[in-house]
Structures are given as C-alpha cells and as structure tokens.
C-alpha cells in the first residue's frame, strides 16, 4: 500500500529521488565530530521557537495596556501556558548558544574557506535575522527591560548622519517607544521566523552543493564518505538528547535564569531602571558599542564587529586546510578571540565604571586586532609551516595545489 502511494507520488513529484539524494545517499564525511551536530540542533530549536511562538500568539495581546497582563494570563490561566512560554523564552537563549557554538566550530576548523563562502555568508545573514528577531521579541513582554532596551537600541539609529532622528521616529512609530512600536515589533517578530526558515533552506542548498567540511580539512576519498542516514541521523539524535537534558533542566528548574528581574516590572516610561542591560547574547557587542566614546563611532564599531565575520574567507590567507588543527598560531588566535568575547560579555553586563571601561576598551581592541592581524599572520604561518616539514604529506599536497591554483 505505502509503496503504491510512494509510486503514485513519484510519478508526479521526485519524492524518493529527493530522499535518496539528500538523506539515504547523501555522502557525509565519516570523521565528523559532535561539533558538527550543532547545525541540526539549530534547526531543531528553530522549530521549537516557531511552534511555541504560534501558540503564544494565540493568547498574547500586542497592546501596551494589555501585553504585560496577557503574559501573566498565559502563565497562570492558559493550560500549560507557563510551559509554552518558558520553552520559548529559554529557547531564545538556547538558539544563541547553539548558533555561537556552530560559528565557533566553523572558525576553528576553517569551514568558511573556499568553496564554502556562500554557505558562510548565508549563515551570517541568518545570524543577523536571528538577532533582529530576538531583539524585537524581547519588547513583547512589555517589562521595564523590554521597554528601556528597545529605547536604547532604537536610539542608536540617531547616529545615522543627516536623518538619524527621522529614522528613529520611523522605527518607533512615534517619538518614544510606545504602542505603535509594540504592534510593529510583534508583526515583524511573527514574520521574521518565516524569512529565517527560507534562509535556512538556502543555507542547506548551499551546504548540499559544497558538502560538509570535516575535521581533517582534507577532501576525503569516496570510501571515507558515508550516507547521512542512518549514520548521522542517529548521531544527531543522540546529540539532541544531550541538548534536551540541559534545555529541559533550565525550562523546568531554573526558567528565570535568562529573565531579568526588572522585566517582571511593567514598562514605565517615567522611570529609567538603574542600569539597562541587554540580553546576554548581545553583551559582547554592547560592550564594543560602549567602548567607543563617540556614539556614531560606537555604532559603527558594533556593526563592524558583527559583520566582520563575513570577511573571514579573505582575511584568512593561509592555504593550509583544517583550520586551527595544523596551525598553532591560528589556534592561539582562536582561543584568544573566544576568551576575549567572554571578557567583553562580562564588561557589557556591568556599568562602565573606570576600570570596567578600560577593560572593555582593551578587549575591543583585541577583538578587532585578531581580525586585522589575521591576513598577515596566516600567510606568514603558512610559509613557516610548509618549510618546517612537520605537516602530514597530504596536507602539504593540498596546500601546494591550492597555492598553484591561486597563481593560475
């Protein structure tokens, strides 16, 4: 029976061919570590956010007089409303943890390199879309931090030369964050996830064109590729189980971990909170913003700090594959960068008192220096490593081929 149905469909739509091509026959390097499982996890969290978000929207009221109460209505009166809301609020943080790890893996193993530039750039686009979605979603509970966070961030656009103030008014739908801001953010917060879903499809098409990179950095022989299904479906499911243990531990036992106490106070335009702190996933960028004394300069620095990842395929000029694996200096830079991000995150969470401010400025300089030094350091390290004779022969071969190709 089911065979008949599939045959019926196959005459009209390439269902079996698709499953075969993308899953049961799709060749995947057999040496992928668990770090390669985070893309799948990101897709899974996206689905959690979409589903819980749709259910939340059934009960949420996007009206500045009702929004705060409607969240409490969801928490107290809607059947399992608390569960849906905590899955969603924790899901947002989980999404960033997963995506940042996914990016860190790409940076460590050099997966952004030729021919995966478009894959990396669609990823960069996804990051931007996610940040916008998260930022707008954070306004919806209409708490103090929602309100003042949105006020501070929309105000950044006033740094635009010429018509900055106009842009701010246009974004907010008025001179201050108010009901029109809330309704438009809600509308966009509902729209963006579908744009993200479309961008994910593009990301996957790019992935299936260039295929997964792998920890060795080498192009594997056919025998070293295995079908995605069942090998990676089961490996990803096991990874998902581990992820869910942590995720559910927070949802059920510490759901307020990512909720600022001030956001349990309804928005009050007359009263600015003692310090306005964005969500944790924006903290490093927020620290960069505040490290530049001038507003316009800060905004530019912040924008560049997010967008500069897109330049990685060009900043990293080494032709030795495998990312940090065979390149000790690149590896050191990677770890310095990761530690630096944590320092920036810490600075972003605290009021910019003198020592904190100085730390932020140093960390900001290190952030940009790692990117700026990379073109020189990577090329210099390449030469040194190729001469050293310590690299595996196939790595050297591949690097030599790439060097020849770049001369041709």
């Amino acid at each position: 029976m089911s065979k008949k149905i599939v045959a019926w469909i196959d005459q009209r739509f390439p269902l079996s061919a698709f499953v075969k091509h993308e899953l049961t026959d799709y060749p995947t390097p057999r040496n992928l570590s668990y770090w390669w499982g985070f893309g799948f996890l990101a897709g899974f969290v996206l689905v959690i956010q979409l589903v819980t978000g749709v259910f939340l929207a059934m009960h949420y009221k996007a009206d500045s007089n009702l929004a705060f109460d409607s969240i409490q209505h969801i928490m107290r009166e809607v059947n399992y409303g608390w569960l849906i809301r905590y899955l969603h609020s924790t899901g947002a943080s989980a999404f960033f943890i997963v995506i940042y790890t996914h990016m860190a893996r790409t940076l460590y193993y050099g997966s952004y390199r030729r021919p995966r530039e478009l894959l990396w750039w669609t990823g960069q686009l996804l990051l931007l879309l996610m940040m916008a979605t998260a930022f707008m979603g954070y306004l919806l509970p209409w708490g103090q931090m929602s309100y003042w966070g949105a006020t501070v961030i929309t105000n950044l656009f006033s740094a635009t030369p010429g018509f900055g103030e106009d842009i701010v008014v246009w974004l907010r739908g008025g001179f201050a964050v108010d009901d029109p801001t809330l309704t438009r953010f809600f509308s966009m917060h509902y729209l963006f996830p579908f744009i993200i879903s479309a961008a994910v499809l593009i990301h996957l098409v790019a992935l299936h064109t260039v295929r997964s990179s792998n920890p060795s950095g080498l192009n594997l022989a056919d025998k070293d590729n295995i079908p995605f299904h069942p090998y990676y479906t089961i490996k990803d499911l096991f990874g998902l189980g581990i992820f869910l243990l942590g995720y559910f531990a927070i949802v059920f036992f510490k759901p307020d971990l990512f909720i600022d106490p001030a956001n349990n106070v309804p928005a009050n335009p007359m009263q600015t909170p003692a310090d306005i702190v964005p969500e944790w996933y924006f903290l490093p960028f927020y620290a960069i913003l505040r490290s530049v004394p001038d507003l316009a300069g800060g905004v530019v620095a912040m924008l560049v700090s997010v967008l500069i990842f897109a330049a990685m395929p060009y900043l990293d000029r080494s032709r030795i594959t495998g990312g940090a694996r065979y390149r000790p200096i690149y590896r050191t830079l990677f770890y310095v960068f990761v530690i630096d991000i944590f320092v920036l995150g810490y600075v972003g969470a605290h009021p910019p008192a003198s020592l904190m401010k100085l730390t932020g400025q140093i960390a900001t300089s290190i952030y940009f220096l790692t990117f700026l030094l990379l073109p020189f350091v990577s090329r210099w390290e390449e030469g040194r490593l190729l001469q050293s004779g310590k690299l595996p022969a196939d790595v050297v071969d591949m690097a030599r081929k790439e060097i020849e190709a770049s001369h041709a």
Binding site: R30, Y34, Q72, M75, R76, W82, L83, Y86, I226, P230, Y231, I234, K235, L237, F238, L240, G241, I242, L244, L245, G246, F248, A249, V251, F252, F253, K254, P255, D256, I259, P261, A262, N264, V265
Partner: protein, 205 residues
C-alpha cells in the same frame, strides 16, 4: 563524549535532588497568605491572585470566606486603599505584589530583608537599610521591637515572603514535578539513542 553525558546527567540529577529537597513549606505559605491579605492588601494589590487561588495552597473555604468578606471568590486581591488616596498619602502608588518575589534582585530574600530592614535613624526617624528613603512605613514595627518581638516579626516576614514567592510562580511545584518526569524520560531516551548509535556505527568497521 561519555564523560560529557555523565556530567550532564549528574548535573540534572543534582538539580532534581536539590529542588525535591527544597519543596515549598506549605504552613509558612498559608500564614503568609493571611498576612498578605490582612496587612499588605491594605495598601498593595495582588492583582494576579484571586481569592479562590488561595484554596490551592490549602486555606479552608471558611478562611478564604473570612478574608474575602463581601468580595466574590473569583475576584482578584485588590488593594483596600484606592490608588489616588495612596498617592496623596505616600506620594507613590504602592506597587502590585503578585510578581514582587521575581521583580527584585534577590527575590523572596530581598522582601525579608526589606521588611526587617527598618531601624531607628539618627534623627529619630525610621530608616531602612535595604531601601533608604522608602515611602512604605515600618509595617511590623520592627524598628521599635524588643528582641522577643523581633523574632516574631522576622518569622512573619519569612512567611509573607514565602507566600509572595508562591504568588509570583504558582505553577512552580507542578513544573518541577513534571520536570522530574521529563528529565528521566529524556535521559533514558538519550541512553537508548547512544546504544543505537553504537550499534549502527559498528556496521562501518
């Protein structure tokens, strides 16, 4: 990898054990409910709590009837003092208390510290250690209390904070109960995935 699994499951089990131990102290919450409805409600509202909700923490029907007076069971715990009167009297409308236990750094602990933080100041006026210049009077009169009365007041503060902690998150107990089941289920499922993964990947050797 097995190590990661081990650590994460240990972490979860510790969490489960920790919260199982710290399950709410019902008598304290009940005493706190009386204080909140009889004292705090004079000035503060608890608008997300209805009288009938108090039945779910074990107050009897009679107790709730006494607390609600003329109001119906489905009514929220509104402040007895009108907002305008409060504004005239204190220069500020006393904030709603239903979410207070989650709306300040420190949570219920902060509420205890605040209520017991009143002390005689230098100029003969009462001040508060935690919130200098607070416009709320020293409700329990702790600034003037002798040591024995102090003890009693401290217990009252703990009780009312326990009640407010429940009020801010009435689903907490149900949530943790469900969470225990969910974590155990996912832990078993993950173990099965692991075994299945081993089995499938063995084909490659």
């Amino acid at each position: 990898m097995l190590k990661t699994v081990y650590w994460i499951s240990t972490l979860c089990l510790t969490l489960i054990a920790g919260t199982a131990h710290a399950s709410a102290d019902l008598p304290s919450i009940q005493r706190g409910a009386h204080i909140a409805a009889e004292v705090c409600n004079g000035c503060h509202s608890l608008k997300y709590i209805k009288y009938k909700d108090l039945l779910s923490i074990g107050l009897t029907r009679d107790e709730v009837n006494t607390l609600r007076g003329e109001k119906s069971l489905g009514d929220p715990l509104k402040a007895q003092m009108a907002a305008n009167d409060a504004l005239a009297l204190f220069n500020v409308v006393p904030p709603d208390l239903s979410l207070m236990a989650e709306a300040r750094e420190g949570g219920p602990h902060y509420i205890v510290e605040l209520l017991t933080g009143f002390a005689p100041g230098a100029d003969g006026q009462t001040t508060n250690r935690v919130f200098p210049g607070i416009k709320m009077p020293d409700i329990f009169g702790i600034a003037q209390a002798d040591p024995a009365a102090r003890k009693e007041i401290e217990q009252k503060a703990i009780d009312v904070a326990a009640f407010l902690e429940w009020a801010a998150d009435p689903q907490a107990e149900a949530r943790k109960r469900m969470g225990r089941g969910v974590l155990i289920y996912v832990a078993i499922l993950t173990a099965l995935f692991y075994l299945l993964k081993k089995k499938i990947w063995r084909r490659l050797k």
